[in-house]
């Protein structure tokens, strides 16, 4: 075990997996000499050489498209998108090829690529450095999505993603890159995809969250101490989704508040609500509420605290569900 920041845990996972498997390579903008704008890939190029940690041209569709070809040549690429919103130029490759090529070969070729990127807001950054694009990825067949909320999970989920035979998108909460610090297992550490984590036990209401919204929900649970006993469920992986854990928790509490920082309309929280509306409707003692970003462009950063789900908005929702 070593104490590591979340971004250091990411870096550690890359070191361990590249050491373990010579077919793993890392590519992206500024991942080499600089070690990434957040230093997530620091030290990889020195250690594994410029052929396994590769600075690419500034062209996201090209990065993801060549990664598809690298898979075909036997590599297991880990692609960095420099920021959430800068992954959009690669959506076409993702939807039309990354999610479809294994199927297209009738299962004969695998595309075990990992796309990792810092995501989310709250970091006082200029425009388009704050997006939460998970819904686009989850809605893409053939693609899995994981979002860690802790340093240990950041390492474990990324490791699972790299080893997974399918393409996996890993969104890393950049807000907590250097604020979350935790003991992280040294060496190989796998957190399997599809297993949610009960971050806090409770009986009155389930707060469903992932990524940066998990510690927020924990703070909301603290704020409600004495008033309501909140269970905080950290989904960890959005696809595969741990429906059993979700349904078990809501069966127990009878109430759910889903927290997501992406814009509300057709976001991933809606999928959770839909699962509950289908499979837990008779367990529910109140409405399923969503606390989310709004259907507006992510705002200028002086306003971002109004946009992002806050402890106040979560506690307000919990109180409304309890009062229903």
């Amino acid at each position: 075990m070593s104490e590591r920041f979340l971004v250091e845990a990411v870096n550690d996972a890359l070191h361990v997996e590249m050491e373990r498997d010579a077919s793993v390579l890392v590519l992206g903008e500024d991942v080499g000499k600089l070690g990434g704008v957040f230093r997530a890939t620091a030290g990889l190029q020195e250690r594994f050489g410029a052929n396994r940690c590769i600075d690419t041209p500034l062209a996201e569709a090209g990065i993801l498209g060549t990664a598809v070809g690298l898979c075909m040549a036997g590599w297991r690429p880990v692609v960095e998108m420099q920021y959430d919103a800068f992954s959009y130029p690669a959506l076409d490759q993702l939807i039309t090829h990354v999610g479809r090529y294994h199927w297209r070969t009738r299962g004969t070729m695998t595309f075990p690529l990992t796309i990792r990127m810092p995501y989310g807001g709250g970091v006082r950054a200029p425009e388009l450095h704050d997006d939460s694009p998970e819904a686009h990825y989850v809605h893409t067949p053939g693609v899995k999505v994981a979002i860690p909320s802790t340093p240990a999970d950041a390492k474990g989920l990324l490791t699972a993603a790299i080893r997974d035979p399918d393409p996996v998108v890993v969104l890393e909460p950049k807000l907590h890159y250097r604020t979350a610090k935790q003991e992280v297992p040294d060496g190989e550490h796998v957190v399997p995809l599809g297993q949610a984590r009960v971050a806090r036990e409770g009986v009155d209401v389930t707060l469903v969250a992932y990524g940066a919204m998990v510690p927020l929900c924990e703070r909301a649970a603290d704020a409600l101490a004495g008033e309501a006993s909140c269970e905080v469920l950290d989904l960890r992986s959005l696809k595969p989704l741990d429906e059993d854990a979700l349904l078990a928790s809501v069966a127990k509490t009878g109430r759910a508040v889903i927290v997501q920082e992406a814009p509300r309309v057709a976001g991933f929280a809606a999928e959770i609500a839909a699962v509950l509306a289908e499979k837990a409707v008779f367990d529910l003692h109140g409405p399923v509420l969503r606390v989310t970003g709004y259907d507006v462009p992510y705002p200028y950063w002086q306003l971002e605290d109004y946009y992002m789900p806050s402890v106040e908005r979560v506690t307000d929702a919990v109180r409304r569900v309890l009062a229903a």
């Binding site: 041209p57 990664a67 090829h97 299962g107 429906e243």
Partner: protein
């Protein structure tokens, strides 16, 4: 003002016109090679012509016709070794036939049957790419990746004139140049992207000069001349194997058939140019070259044609004999390790379908 990289404006030709333009020769090609090229041309031509008929008969679905594109496909593929990969677009759907892929497989693709997706590792032919130009980065990544692994493999990627406008082609070519990937960027310039002429795709007078901006040579060849295509590709392959990186080949022809079976070119095309192209179509052109060289008798030509026709007859029969695909194939292979819900979905579907 100093000089930029050379890119060609003139079209390379080998085959003459039987009159004022004399026939050339390609060094190193034996009589057998020349006949093999001819067999390939006839096989593809036959495949294409029969497919149009099968479509009319309702035996295959919408089909992208490649009539008069055969020389580009056969000439370029012939310059490769079997270990090299081909990345086709829908326009080269049948290029796998040149590597022995069963006719039935390709027909199944156009029949919308899962048996139409092949295992690329069996033929070193990637899956057919439908979205324009998006396979260019795949080919570049593959070639680059093979090079990084120390393997001697070249990739040939085929796309149209219209594709050169797409960002993904630009990004793929950029990566090709920078990584010196052993890849041949083969552009079939048939001068039309459905109804849009190449003059509305770019203000550059030729596509070959696009290569300059990527730091790679741009070559221009008569796309109806199988020998010129072969020779240009062979040079590019040699460059690639020597570690000198990618080459862009613009092969120029004129689309002499509809874009696809659903298209009505009379709304936009120049019928005179079509008539000219049909007159000068690539299979006949090569046949006449071989005849002038005394390498193709009527008998051999007939045997080659019959053989191709037989393969098509067998292929369509085989394709039609394939049982309808099971609903499980909707779910199979979506994931190598599927999320749990898919099995439930299949079970529910089977319950509802009663099968």
């Amino acid at each position: 003002m100093s000089q930029v990289l050379p890119a060609e404006r003139g079209l390379r030709r080998v085959i003459g016109d039987g009159a004022s333009v004399p026939d050339g020769q390609v060094d190193g090609l034996s009589a057998d090679d020349l006949l093999a090229l001819y067999r390939g041309l006839v096989l593809l031509r036959t495949y294409d012509e029969r497919s149009v008929v099968y479509h009319r008969q309702g035996r295959i679905g919408t089909y992208a016709i490649f009539w008069n594109h055969e020389a580009m496909q056969v000439g370029s593929a012939f310059a490769l070794e079997r270990r090299d990969w081909i990345f086709p677009s829908y326009r080269e759907s049948a290029i796998g036939l040149l590597r022995g892929m069963p006719v039935a497989t390709v027909l199944q693709w156009w029949r919308g049957h899962p048996a139409g997706w092949w295992n690329p590792l069996d033929w070193n032919v990637a899956s057919i790419c439908v979205p324009i130009g998006t396979h260019v980065p795949h080919a570049v990544g593959f070639a680059w990746g093979a090079k990084l692994r120390g393997e001697d493999r070249v990739a040939l990627v085929m796309f149209g004139d219209g594709a050169t406008s797409e960002g993904s082609v630009h990004e793929g070519m950029t990566f090709a140049g920078v990584t010196k990937a052993p890849v041949i960027l083969f552009c079939n310039n048939n001068q039309w992207a459905i109804s849009t002429p190449v003059s509305e795709q770019t203000a550059a007078p030729t596509l070959a000069e696009k290569a300059i901006g990527y730091g790679m040579p741009g070559v221009r060849v008569d796309g109806g001349d199988v020998l010129a295509v072969y020779e240009a590709t062979r040079e590019a392959v040699a460059r690639a194997r020597a570690g000198d990186g990618p080459t862009f080949i613009e092969a120029v022809t004129y689309r002499a058939a509809p874009h696809a079976t659903a298209d009505d070119p009379s709304l936009y095309i120049d019928e005179e140019r079509v008539a000219e192209a049909r007159e000068n179509e690539c299979v006949g052109r090569f046949a006449r070259y071989l005849e002038r060289a005394g390498l193709l008798s009527e008998d051999v030509a007939a045997e080659i044609k019959d053989d191709a026709l037989a393969r098509l007859r067998e292929g369509i029969a085989e394709a039609e004999a394939e049982p309808p695909a099971d609903p499980a194939l909707v779910f199979d292979y979506a994931y190598a390790s599927p999320p749990p819900g898919l099995a439930d979905d299949l079970a529910e579907l089977r319950r509802i379908l009663g099968r």
